[in-house]
Symmetry: C2
């Protein structure tokens, strides 16, 4: 992408209404624009990152055997009357009446609708097990939306739902999502820690939150350092036994503020391994059995010919929230430092003197080569002064920057700057391109 | 994808409430499920096609230089009060009140919001020209939603908006979208005809509808046969002069029922080239000048230092509607016949006797090879009887089917069936795979 053709409205001032760094940086870097309280437009830069996060979430869901569908944003109220949640849900549910006076709502979550879909088609144990998911916009009418996309009202969520004949099989589905989540967040460059959670209004017994550690996180968390250092499982056989991978983690102490037990923490974790940090919830998984299938009569016939309510679980990832969470975990005073896997552009090319024949030619050449190699480069071909160009490239967090100026070019040199470390390398044009394409600076 | 793991709830009976063939087939093939009047869940098969269509639309928008962003589904009513459309829009607009008694609405289109975004950042002719687009769910509270996704209430639309200093430049943007649309629909295997259109409530002078021809189309259209036969422009320089490409088409007679002038049709088009057919609207482009920028004060400073309201246009494609339209244009009595570019699976592998060692091995082998070659195959590894497997594969419209049975295998043979023509080829396993990978049956 050439910056002169892109739409990147960066702001010079930090907006005064943004309290946390991710919100400030997303506004300054021209990633989002508020359209109403807690409702944002995703500007081109923000959308590019959102799509990368969404793709990682999708790929890891697919790898775990989950099947994607897409439920609508609006739902009929009657579905929620069946489960009993229509009256319980309170003012966070955005209730809507259509022109025929029928009650609709903007889905805050989809347990009811997926149960309705399941019961419409599946009636036998032979249809099981099944994990269905979608990535769709949700709405929760938060009383005080704040912190940008971290606590917005219209937000993008991945929610998966599992269907099994019994608790044993449902636990396998739970474990698949548990492992998929570890891999998902690791691919985004995040350290995520699963913590036993309160099941809240969704109900059920088995539940974990996935918390990523960030100095500016929203809440305090406590855990064993071994959990933080443990690498994600990576490639595993999702049809195999995942219980050991799960047990290995759940055996170690980890708790959010609400679930924290200081005495147990001290008893179970030696002092040198006690991590007390700040965290951000980015995923939440539940096994809630027949909480919805019972009232909604989602029954399956077992091998014994008897009908039983299907065992279910639900598994959420805050896709739009992850943008904020990643920035909270990875930034400095100059801007965002994107982990490569979610960076909006893989490399930046700064033409220090647009209009200068040699600079233009070299910049276009480097840009074309990085583009052909699939690095999705951004070429700053504008007439801004050099300082502004550097500042913008740092602000938007492009991982590698190739700086092309008339002085260096005379000696056939360009500068490669690594955003995360600030390191600079003076290289020939050819070396710069080759090393970037090889991933030599990773 | 293995069918035993997929979620493909095909129906044996044609649902009685579906009046048109695309609606019937989408329900029967397990592509959609109605959740409320005009509100559908996209089941996995339908979603796969929807995503392919979306991707083609996106690629052609990008190629034309349009920049993607994403506006939220909900909008503040105040924006529409600025343009004056809040009261005008009538009951098709779904109006919502949030917990703080603020008026919101589910966006039926985005002229107001994109104008608000533009004016928030762009104030100079140097920021122009710009084409911004998004692909987002919209809602129109149709009084009688019908025909499945062809006239639903919650629907996916691509809408682009152009910003220019004057009409001359705005016409260039218009021409870019005109050409991009021809290419977009052609890539989906559709014959699209641009027809001069009434501008309706969006306003403006220059407007075309893009109509695809389908025997079961919703309305009657009239045009010169040369328009139908004219190939799409294909690769063009979008920075170059596109006017000749546009003129070449707009010079020929083409009109929908409402705009039809029988006398002119007969005068302008020789009898043998007079096409009178049925069509479906899948795109609509408008140049409406300063209709929104005037009341909303989206001003830009020109090179002369004077402020003028920015010239705008809007350009819509009915992404979810296209699924229905493609099916209307391409089906037979056995089901859908997907054009390859949008087919949910590139090839089907039918294991005629799941459980038979030789059949299982050969099927898995063919499946793995087609998968590795990027054909996105679907392997029917279920225990259904052969007739049901054939019927399902035809119903869901997979372009090529590899039928693997015990009898053929004894002679090392499998059968390849071409869905569109019904042709069958008896081939060795190796030949079948190689020819499919080469695209030899196209």
């Amino acid at each position: 992408m050439r910056l002169s053709r892109f739409f990147l409205p960066v702001l010079k001032e930090t907006p005064s209404d943004a309290q946390i760094v991710s919100h400030q940086l997303m506004l300054r870097a021209g990633m989002i624009r508020q359209e109403a309280a807690g409702i944002y437009a995703w500007l081109p830069l923000g959308l590019r990152v959102l799509r990368k996060i969404e793709t990682i979430v999708r790929e890891e869901q697919n790898r775990a055997g989950a099947i994607e569908l897409l439920m609508p944003t609006l739902q009929p109220a009657d579905l929620w009357r069946e489960s009993g949640r229509y009256d319980d849900y309170g003012k966070e549910m955005l209730r809507i009446v259509d022109r025929h006076e029928r009650d609709l709502l903007y889905g805050p979550t989809n347990e009811e609708m997926i149960t309705e879909i399941f019961r419409g088609y599946c009636r036998s144990y032979k249809d099981l097990p099944k994990i269905l998911y979608h990535i769709q916009w949700k709405f929760r009418d938060e009383i005080r939306p704040r912190f940008g996309v971290m606590r917005g009202r219209e937000f993008l969520m991945k929610d998966a739902y599992s269907f099994d004949l019994d608790l044993e099989s449902a636990t396998k589905a739970y474990n698949k999502m548990f492992v998929a989540y570890l891999n998902t967040f690791a691919r985004m460059g995040l350290k995520s820690v699963p913590m036993r959670a309160d099941t809240g209004p969704i109900g059920g017994k088995l539940s974990h939150e996935f918390i990523i550690l960030a100095e500016t996180g929203e809440s305090e968390v406590f855990c064993d350092a071994r959990l933080v250092d443990m690498p994600a499982p990576g490639e595993v056989d999702f049809d195999g036994d995942l219980q050991p991978l799960v047990d290995q983690r759940t055996a170690l102490y980890a708790a959010t503020e609400e679930m924290h037990d200081a005495a147990r923490f001290e008893a179970d974790v030696p002092e040198e391994r006690r991590v007390s940090a700040r965290g951000i919830e980015v995923g939440h998984i539940f096994n809630f059995g027949t909480k919805y299938s019972d009232p909604m009569k989602a029954l399956v016939t077992g091998p014994d010919g008897k009908d039983t309510a299907v065992h279910m679980g639900s598994y959420g990832v805050g896709v739009s929230r992850l943008l904020g969470a990643i920035i909270e975990a990875s930034h400095d005073e100059n801007g965002v430092i994107w982990p490569e896997a979610v960076a909006p552009f893989g490399a930046g090319v700064i033409n220090m003197r647009a209009g200068d024949e040699a600079c233009d030619a070299a910049s276009t050449d480097v840009y074309a080569k990085l583009d052909a190699a699939g690095l999705e480069p951004l070429l700053d071909d504008t007439n801004e002064r050099a300082g502004a160009k550097f500042a913008t490239m740092d602000l938007i967090g492009v991982p590698y920057q190739v700086v092309i100026g008339p002085r260096g070019l005379k000696e056939g040199k360009v500068e490669v700057k690594i955003r995360a470390s600030g390191e600079r390398h003076e290289l020939s044009l050819e070396d710069a391109v080759n090393r970037l394409v090889e991933g030599a600076f990773k």
